[in-house]
Every structure is written in C-alpha cells, then in structure tokens.
C-alpha cells in the first residue's frame, strides 16, 4: 500500500513539475492573476452619487463577483487544458511506455496524473486567492478613505455623535464584507467544482483520441451540468409523459451528468448570505464520491485500453 502511494506521489509530482514548467499554463496563470487583480477596475464603474455604505456595498460586490468569477473561469481553463493533454501527450511522446515498463500499475499511473493536477490547481487557486485578497484589501482601503472624505466634508463631524455613529457603522460594514470568513467557504466550493471538472476531463481522456475532443466534450458537460437540476426535475416529474428519445436523453443527463449548478451557491456567499457549513460539507462529500466513481470508471477504461 505504502509503495503504491509512493509511486502515485512520484508520478503526481512529475505531472505537477511538467505543468508548472509549461509556458502555456504559466502564461494563463499570470493572465488570471492580473485579471483577478483588475476586478478593482470594474468596481470603479459603480453607481455614482450613492452614500458611502451603498457605494462600497456595490463596489465590494463587483470585486467579489469578478474576482471569484475569474478564479472559477481560469481555474477551469487551466484545469481542463492541463488534464486534457495528460494522456494524449504521454501516448504521443510514448513516455507512457517507459513508465508502464516499470513496476507501476495503470491505476497508479492514472491516479498519479490526477494527483498532479490537484497539486497544480491547489497552487493556482491559492495564488489567485491571494491576488483576490489583495484586490479586496485595496478596495477596503479605498472604501474607508471614501467614507473619510464624505464625512470629512462636515466640519468637526467627529464631535457629532450622530455622524460618528453612522461613520462607525459604515466602516464596520466595509470591514465585515471584506474580511468575511465565509469567503473561505466560497473558495473551497469553487476548488471542489474545479476538481470535479478535471475528473470529468480525465475520464474522457482515457478513451479520447485527441486533446481537442476531451476539451470540447468536457466543456459541453460543464455547461449541461449547470442545467442538470432542471433536467432531473423534469425527468422525475414528467419523464413518463414525454416521447422515448426525449425521456432517454433527459434521463441520461439526470443519471450521469453532475449537478454543477448546486455549486453556484458560491454566489450566495459572495452576496453576504449564510450558507451553513453542513450544507457545504454535504456538497463536498457529493463531489468526492462522484470523483471516486469517475476515477474508478477511468481506471477500468484505461486498463482495457491498448497503448
């Protein structure tokens, strides 16, 4: 067991090293970091003329939404691109022969490759989260400065208890929105969704003949996954009433495509709503089990593949 784990880790580290030394992925990551940081530029388009609380509310919402949106988008791009070329590149370069001629099981090879992607995404999401935190911090400072400038227009405003009360509340709100510990929950859910998407890409790449096919199919499943909830509801309530083909198609989506829309509760967290941790762990648990199923099927398919 230990030796198996060591082999998986060795392959994982190698995959990770290959990915971070790849120019394409490095450029993508730098671009992502810049875009996450530039979410503060979007905040400058907030509605003018609002009171400090309202304005900062809107600006922080923009930074959170665009920052996390960039993390999700680029995380998916990096993850899908890196995963899609794992197997085809090994087959094309025939490096897989040298590895599988060693005492390495095909399952260990596949799990090691996936582990490498997980390491890569962990690094990318961490870096993007740091850029996001920097953007939020900058916005926070801007917000406090703006509140200071607005309240400062009244002479000796700090002596006025009423104004002071308003100011203190506004600044406390700014801090609460930016230093919201629930953002950790949001990033965790984003990361989980990314890993699931990479699991789908890995499964497809075990039988696909090219990276392009894997990328396109994964993107299609990614989009359909956001409508799976609607399909499932329809199939369970009206499946028997529709024609056979429609029922089969909707049924297939409901039974096998993951419900990715469930993870968009990240938007609720960013909007300041409370998502209970037990619900988050439920979603993570669902993702982990789904991933186990995906990887099991991938291992079986890859085992039977002629290389």
């Amino acid at each position: 067991m230990i030796s198996s784990l060591l082999r998986i880790i060795a392959i994982g580290r190698n995959t990770f090293t290959e990915a971070i030394r790849s120019k394409v992925l490095s450029v993508l990551l730098i671009f992502a970091l810049v875009l996450v940081g530039c979410s503060v530029l979007v905040s400058q388009l907030a509605t003018p003329g609002l009171d400090p609380a309202g304005l900062i509310d809107e600006q922080i919402k923009f930074v959170k939404d665009f920052g996390c949106g960039a993390i999700g988008l680029f995380g998916a791009a990096i993850g899908i691109l890196a995963t899609a070329q794992l197997i085809p590149q090994e087959l094309h370069n025939r490096t897989i022969y040298t590895i599988l001629s060693k005492p390495v099981r095909r399952s260990e090879f596949l799990l090691g490759k996936f582990f490498g992607i997980v390491l890569l995404l962990t690094l990318c999401v961490t870096l993007m989260t740091l850029a996001f935190a920097a953007a939020l911090y900058w916005q926070e400072q801007q917000g406090v400065a703006y509140a200071d400038s607005i309240y400062g227009q009244t002479k000796n405003w700090q002596a006025d208890q009423g104004l002071l009360e308003h100011y203190n509340h506004d600044v406390a709100e700014i801090h609460a929105q930016v230093r919201d510990p629930r953002l950790v929950e949001a990033i965790l859910l984003l990361f989980t969704k990314l890993i699931m998407t990479c699991g789908i890409a890995l499964l497809i790449s075990t039988f696909a003949s090219s990276s392009i096919f894997t990328i396109v199919t994964t993107l299609m499943i990614y989009l359909i996954g956001h409508m799976e909830g609607t399909a499932r509801t329809f199939w369970l309530s009206h499946g028997a009433e529709t024609n056979l083909w429609q029922s089969c198609l909707v049924g297939f989506i409901s039974l096998f495509i993951p419900d990715l829309n469930a993870f968009t509760i990240v938007d609720e967290i960013l909007a300041g709503n409370n998502v209970p941790w037990h619900h988050t762990f439920d979603l993570i648990g669902y993702a982990v089990v789904y991933l186990v199923v995906l990887l099991s099927v991938a291992i079986v398919v890859f085992d039977y593949r002629e290389i």
Partner: protein
C-alpha cells in the same frame, strides 16, 4: 539475486504460442503482428532480435514488458506473468527513441524512475551517482533532456533501465543514431552486464554489432520467428576453409600454393588469396581512441 542458469531455475523469458492480432477498423480485417511465438531465453544470455521493420520485434518486446495484452498464448519472465509487478521489478527497458520527459534534467530523470521502482532516499542518490559514472554523463546531468544529443539520450536511457538493478534488460535499438565510439561503449557495457550475470535481449538493425555481442539470435519476418539459434551454429558455413597468416604471401609463393591445391582437385576459379581488411569501425576506433582524452579537454562540456 543469483540469475545464473542452473537445473530447475526458471528461464529468463519463456513464451508459448504468443500471438498478437490487431483488428483493423472498417476493413473487417485483422493484422497479425505476432504469430504463435515460442521463445526461450536462458538467464545470463545475450539474445538478439533481428528482422526488418514491422516484423514483430517491437510487438514481442511490448508483450514481454506487459505493455500490451496477447490475443493468444502466454509469456513469462523468470516464471512470472509479464503483466505482474514482480516481473517488471526484475526488468529494465531502454526504448528505441528515448521516451523521456524533456523538461527533466539527467538527475531528475533517474530520481523519478528510481522512485517508480521503489528505490528511495540515500540508496537512490548513491545509485544515481554510480549510474552517471557508468554511462559517462557527469557533464550533462544538470541539463534538461531536451538539450541532450542522441548519444546522451541513449546513455540516460540505459541509466534509467538499470536504476533498480534489474536481472533482465530489454534494449530496443540501443545503438541507433549513436556515433561509433558511443556504440562501442554501449557494446562493452552489454558485455559487462553479461559478465555480471544479467540477461540482455536487444533488437538491432546493425548486424555487425549483434554479431559481436549476442550469444543467440532470432530472426523475425512478417510476424513470425523464422530462424533461431546460437551465432556459431547459424553463421558457420560447411562449405570452404579459410587460412589466416600474419604476413603477406609473395606472388611466387601464391602460385606454388595454387599448384598444390589444383593438384588436390580444386578448380582455379575456387581458389582466392585476399588481404585481410579492417572494418571501418575498427579503423575509426583505432584512430579516435589514439587521440587525447576528449571529455576533459572539450571546452563545450564546461
């Protein structure tokens, strides 16, 4: 591990009716890449696989390495199924074109493959030093493999094949694209491995080199093994006699010998006197090796 041949010890390689078929899509035909191969290789032997491109040599190697599954028949390595981890633990493989990660340097490559074979920690580091010395890659060990020449890639390939001290080595075209000096070093290494008791199975198109190192060979054609045996038994011709003398014969002496042989019943046209010829490789090696030590004086390697 004692891998010398003895009564009762398993054969290094044993195949029985080993067959590989590839169905060709759309054409409803089947390509028979290997057709009922029966092969035995004893431990400690150097065995050559010969044949034109597409004759089944690479398919044989892939089947013995457990990379592909046979359509029929069986293959065993030291009595173990070829797809088992235990079998692969005792096998090292040098691929034809170096199938390695170009972004890794020499040390990283050996470290990676060593870990895959269960060699870790200080034992691995010591082994890496030994192999770097053995294959002569001191100057290139910290460069990425994408900057290596063909010869250097073959060396690192040999090193990774030996990282876990296997008992059986598969070398696919080990000297392809390598300069004559490098080729002779690889040839010497194969002989050294044989002295260490390793079994070596290699395929090559360079027949002269096979002749110099192999104990036995098999010749493949169109997926079938058509000939197998020791080099002595295969190459010795029953017709004719060769006489070797350390000096040239004068024309007069040659004429007297012709008369003697003609008297014994040999026709004029069947008698020929020729001067021994060096092979081009022998001349090259003699010339190059007489030069001062290249590695230490080559400013490119600093």
């Amino acid at each position: 591990m004692d891998s010398s041949a003895s009564v009762g010890s398993p054969l290094a390689v044993q195949t029985s009716g080993l067959t590989k078929r590839y169905p060709l899509a759309w054409k409803r035909k089947v390509l028979v890449a290997l057709d009922h191969l029966d092969l035995e290789v004893r431990p400690g032997e150097v065995f050559g696989l010969l044949g034109p491109n597409g004759s089944g040599k690479s398919t044989t190697l892939k089947l013995l390495l457990g990379l592909i599954v046979p359509s029929e028949g069986e293959a065993r390595v030291f009595g173990l199924p070829t797809d088992s981890l235990e079998a692969r633990q005792r096998v090292g493989f040098l691929p034809e074109n170096p199938y390695f990660y170009s972004f890794l340097n020499g040390d990283e490559t050996l470290r990676f493959y060593g870990r895959l074979c269960g060699v870790n920690g200080s034992k691995l580091e010591k082994r890496i030093e030994e192999l770097i010395d053995l294959v002569g890659l001191q100057n290139g060990r910290e460069r990425p493999l994408r900057s290596y020449s063909k010869g250097m890639l073959q060396r690192i390939g040999l090193a990774q094949a030996l990282i876990h001290d296997p008992d059986l080595l598969f070398l696919d075209e080990p000297t392809a694209g390598v300069d004559p000096l490098g080729s002779s070093q690889i040839r010497d290494l194969i002989l050294r491995l044989k002295k260490m008791g390793k079994t070596v199975i290699f395929s090559s198109h360079l027949l002269e080199q096979v002749q110099e190192v192999a104990d036995r060979v098999a010749i493949f054609s169109l997926g079938k093994k058509v000939l197998e045996g020791s080099l002595d038994s295969l190459l010795t011709e029953d017709r004719g006699t060769q006489v070797h003398l350390p000096a040239q014969l004068s024309p007069d002496l040659q004429q007297r010998l012709r008369q003697v042989l003609a008297g014994a019943g040999f026709a004029e046209r069947d008698i020929s006197f020729t001067r021994p010829r060096l092979s081009l490789e022998q001349l090259y090696l003699r010339t190059v090796q007489s030069q001062p030590d290249l590695a230490s004086n080559d400013s490119r390697s600093k």
